[in-house]
């Protein structure tokens, strides 16, 4: 198969990522099926988050942020839809979604960096959730952009261990009013 599908002369909208909110059956191996599909078809994932779906023991909701340039979105959705355990897929353009992610970081502290660190955390709106004499653990629940900014700001500090969950998203309310 050709690595680059020939798509004729249609213009591409250069949206970097899309958010797919995927309702799946809560069955063993369903995440492996999704991950395997993305791997074997060469679709890139920025992040993937799983949680029980609202009010159903039978279903889970997987929020996948896909690189819509690694493959046409139509392909990604079409292939995903063929997975028998996938029940429904909602595609959200970034502008139609509210997205949040969680960042956790542990930073070694000392007398010199304490003040600048507190300033940085204060600016970012991050909260301290664990402390010991030589380190703090902080969290930020924010937009992916806010998490990016805090991650960047923390680069100035030595010995930072940082984890991000990847984003979850829901449709923006009142989209109809916006148009």
């Amino acid at each position: 198969m050709s690595p680059e599908p020939y798509l004729g002369d249609v213009a591409h909208t250069p949206v970097r990522h899309h958010i797919l909110s995927v309702l799946v059956e809560n069955k063993a191996g369903v995440l492996a099926r999704i991950a395997g599909l993305f791997a074997r078809r060469g679709f890139n994932i920025y992040s993937l988050a799983v949680a029980p779906a609202e009010g159903h023991a039978r279903f889970s909701r997987v929020t996948i942020v896909v690189d819509a340039e690694s493959a046409p979105l139509e392909q990604i959705m079409g292939q995903l839809d063929k997975l028998v355990n996938v029940v429904a897929i909602t595609d959200l353009a970034p502008s139609d979604a509210v997205e949040r992610e969680l960042l956790l970081a542990t930073i070694k502290t000392n007398v010199a960096n304490r003040t600048p660190l507190l300033d940085t955390l204060g600016d970012a709106g991050a909260a301290i959730i664990d402390v010991d004499p030589g380190a703090v653990t902080v969290m930020l629940a924010g937009t992916p952009g806010a998490c990016d900014a805090l991650e960047k700001a923390l680069e100035g500090f030595a010995e930072v261990e940082l984890h991000r969950t990847g984003r979850v998203a829901l449709p923006r309310l009142g989209r109809a009013a916006k148009a």
Partner: protein, 571 residues
């Protein structure tokens, strides 16, 4: 009624109307082989599990019904991975049952444990690891539903040994709802707007081509295709997976497109203004260099699988439907192209200038492989089913045999699996015992799965195998000759080793050999007289023969190479 899981499994297969299982037992599947003794289902004991898988495929492709195979865990399961992958590529409905170690042992590297659902995740339409005996009927019913509806494909059911040994209360799902497949919607309502847009495109077309793929056969749409093609007078091409979907004898049929397609079929696609794809998927073996493929054409793409749309080629109109429904809807919409007399005149000139040709046979041999196929076809009873391995012989079989009806051409297309031919022929013959079944095989392919002729003899399945023995992995040799400066690397096989006649005889078959024209005609006559045991014929063919026409891999279809006899003539 209380049953063991094993009994429930066999009873579930009976409920699905299964008449034949191809398989081979072992530890983990042992419980299921016990109630099989009391079942009406015929079990064909294969000599290698790959054979079971390809037999099930041959059965499915010849009958249109799902093929069923059953093997044990571990190596039994991994041995059937190739046929599963093959069936996945060719959308062939299969249900494969594998034994698994007991649930308590899963994950412990137990004896003959292997993660077969993990291994086959990417090459099945779906697979199940059954967790309790009570769930067996649902898994079986769902597997058959999945394998045969929408875009068909292989489904695997992995059954742990303790599950088949424990007791359950017999039940069987009565409705699709009970299959518990909330995410599976194989059919969508026909998009009438798309049908109308397609009909409008057809109405403007002066040079249309019906590009018929395997989905046309899978949706049993041959009669709709014939009616539509005849009403609209459009030219038809049938891909390797669709041979038999439209009669080769029909004067609107241009033959097979693609890498080794007919000049007229390939060129009609290149020059058409509207390409109507019916259950085809724009495979690279058909398109050649994609940007150069039918570059001036608008495209109508009919497929049951929406993921095929715009995967390779942007469609102007896509219709998600099975082919039969879509053709009926296009007929109802009155879709009719412009007058096609001029288009046909051009096509007829291509057909006249570049028919299929081959070098004159020599009386003393070696034989021309194309001639052998024509000679077999000339003496074959109508409706004969032909299977093939993969290689030059496969392409010649597709080119030179004339297929008139669905289910008569059984081959490995998308995966190109050497060794498919013999077991597929056995499966086809089991499914259609009233038909003659010929396997056109290569010497290389034959050596991969020939042991299944023991199965054929033991089970009384009288197939006929024609080995086109060119002493080479011929298709690879052809590429080395044409694209690697005739540097032949690891392709020589030796026509005399093995001795195919003795091998056939050792497997309880009749073995025959033909080196010249006289012998060729004699052995074909003799093979046709034998109807009780399998026959194998070693036809000694010319090693230097190449398949033409040919489009080099990755080249534009405009650069099709015709047979050397036709070169020099102006295009």
């Amino acid at each position: 009624m209380q049953l063991t899981g094993a009994q429930a499994l066999i009873k579930s297969l009976e409920q699905e109307g299964v008449d034949t299982i191809f398989g081979l037992p072992g530890g983990a599947i042992l419980p299921v082989y016990d109630p099989l003794i009391d079942s009406t289902i015929r079990h064909i004991l294969v000599r290698h599990e790959q054979g079971a898988g390809h037999m099930a495929e041959g059965y499915a492709l010849a009958t249109g019904r799902p093929g069923v195979a059953m093997v044990t865990s571990g190596p039994g399961a991994t041995n059937i991975v190739t046929p599963i992958g093959n069936a996945h590529m060719d959308s062939t409905p299969l249900v494969v049952i594998t034994g698994q170690v007991a649930t308590g042992s899963i994950g412990t590297d137990a004896f003959q444990e292997c993660d077969i659902t993990g291994i086959t995740m990417g090459i099945t339409k779906h697979n199940f690891l059954v967790q309790s005996a009570q769930e067996i009927p649902r898994a079986v019913a769902a597997a058959f539903h999945l394998a045969t509806t929408g875009r068909p494909g292989p489904v695997l059911i992995d059954v742990p040994k303790d599950v088949t040994q424990s007791m359950m209360d017999w039940w069987y799902p009565a409705t699709v709802e009970e299959f518990d497949l909330p995410g599976y919607r194989p059919e969508v309502p026909l998009d009438e707007g798309a049908v109308a847009r397609a009909a409008a495109l057809i109405g403007q077309s002066e040079r249309p081509v019906l590009y018929v793929g395997g989905g046309t056969l899978k949706s049993h749409a041959a009669s709709e295709l014939l009616a539509f093609a005849e009403r609209t007078a459009m030219p038809v091409v049938t891909t390797l997976m669709a041979r038999g979907a439209f009669p080769d004898s029909h004067n609107q049929h241009l033959g097979m497109p693609g890498m080794h397609g007919m000049y007229s079929a390939v060129t009609a696609i290149q020059k058409c203004d509207l390409l109507i794809s019916l259950g085809a998927r724009f495979d690279d073996r058909v398109t050649g260099k994609i940007p150069a493929f039918a570059a001036g054409a608008k495209v109508i793409h009919v497929d049951i699988d929406r993921a095929e749309f715009n995967k390779v080629r942007r469609a102007d109109v896509s219709i998600q439907s099975n082919v039969a429904c879509a053709l009926r809807a296009l007929d109802a919409a009155g879709a009719t192209p412009k007058n096609l007399d001029g288009w046909w005149k051009t096509i007829r000139s291509w057909q006249a200038q570049y028919p299929l040709v081959y070098d004159e046979p020599t009386v003393d041999g070696p034989l021309r492989p194309q001639h052998v196929i024509e000679a077999i076809a000339a003496k074959a009873s109508p409706g004969t089913i032909v299977t093939a391995g993969v290689g030059q012989h496969q392409m010649w079989a597709s080119q030179f045999w004339k297929f008139e009806e669905p289910g008569t051409w059984v081959n490995s297309g998308g995966a190109g699996t050497m060794g498919f031919g013999v077991p597929a022929a056995i499966g086809a013959k089991v499914g259609r015992p009233e038909r003659t079944v010929w396997c056109i095989d290569g010497d290389g392919c034959f050596q991969m799965t020939a042991q299944e002729l023991v199965t054929a003899r033991a089970e009384g399945i009288p197939i006929k195998v024609a080995i086109l023995n060119n002493a080479y992995l011929g298709m690879v040799r052809q590429w080395q000759e044409m694209f690697y400066d005739e540097r032949y690397s690891e392709v020589y096989l030796n026509a005399d080793l093995p001795d195919y006649v003795k091998w056939a005889e050792a497997m309880g078959c009749v073995g025959l050999r033909a080196r010249n024209l006289k012998e060729m005609h004699e052995v074909i006559e003799e093979a046709n007289r034998i109807n009780d045991v399998p026959v194998v014929i070693d036809f000694r063919t010319d090693s230097s023969e190449k398949v033409f026409p040919m489009v080099a891999a990755g080249a534009s279809n405009d650069d099709i190479m015709v047979h050397p006899l036709q070169r020099g003539a102006s295009k």
